[in-house]
Symmetry: C2
Subunit: 164 residues, 2 copies
Amino acid sequence: MKMVEVKIEGLALDMTTNTPVVILSPEGIDKVLPIWIGHAEAWAIAMELSGVGSKRPLTHDLIKKVVTAFNARVDRVEITELREQTFFALIHIVNDEKTWKIDARPSDSIALALKTGSKIYVNEELFDVSKGSASDRLNMPTDPESLRERLKKINPEDFGKYSL
Amino acid sequence: MKMVEVKIEGLALDMTTNTPVVILSPEGIDKVLPIWIGHAEAWAIAMELSGVGSKRPLTHDLIKKVVTAFNARVDRVEITELREQTFFALIHIVNDEKTWKIDARPSDSIALALKTGSKIYVNEELFDVSKGSASDRLNMPTDPESLRERLKKINPEDFGKYSL
């Protein structure tokens, strides 16, 4: 499985199903991977992207605190596969002695990666596997440039209605 | 600080601010403690209360998985204090050797307690401290019986709009 590092291209909203979408893209490669996520997780990701802090620990802060309490850290997160229209991810947690790979949803993994400053990797094959179906579902243009153009219209603030 | 074990009396919605409220009550003592929480956390608590499972790990499942990975478990959660209109909580995580007390919001603590089958404790003083102000904010009756009566009208399904 060849993993490529990705950045978060943006957040979007699938208007048909009112479902948030997070768009991932590798540096220097003109491909995009849209992943449908929950509202709460979209809000958590939007909070991180906007750099707005919170007085009290949010849920992904709490995960970070638990990991830190055990003298460990989040090393990286990986979006590994697509099974029955569901993306799977692994959170790599490390301490001085070993590595744990925790099965997780991509949304939590991405939120936690942002929270901990960890890198996000995607199984390269997923960019091809999900190309057609994902864009169909989103009713979005298939080429990255048009997709990016469209995503510019959507701001993290759109998720602001999910208040603390 | 005297701690009393509580059960979740129910979930409500503060119509004025559109904020969910979780209502805690000690067994055998006729007092209630309403705590304002976020939509995402209310949804997580509602999911647990309704017993509806999820194919993929939700965010509080992920916390449980991380704790389990470190050969530890959630022992109990405590709502400890009210400071500047914000309730504070501690999640007690234990392994064979030691106990960690993790600073958290009551909402995450309660969701995690439900997820792990752990007990929820409240600093007894909070039932008196928050009595007036909490009920005022909710525009709810101050006596537990009337409050319970009113809460019957609110179902976990009301939080169902926050979909996965």
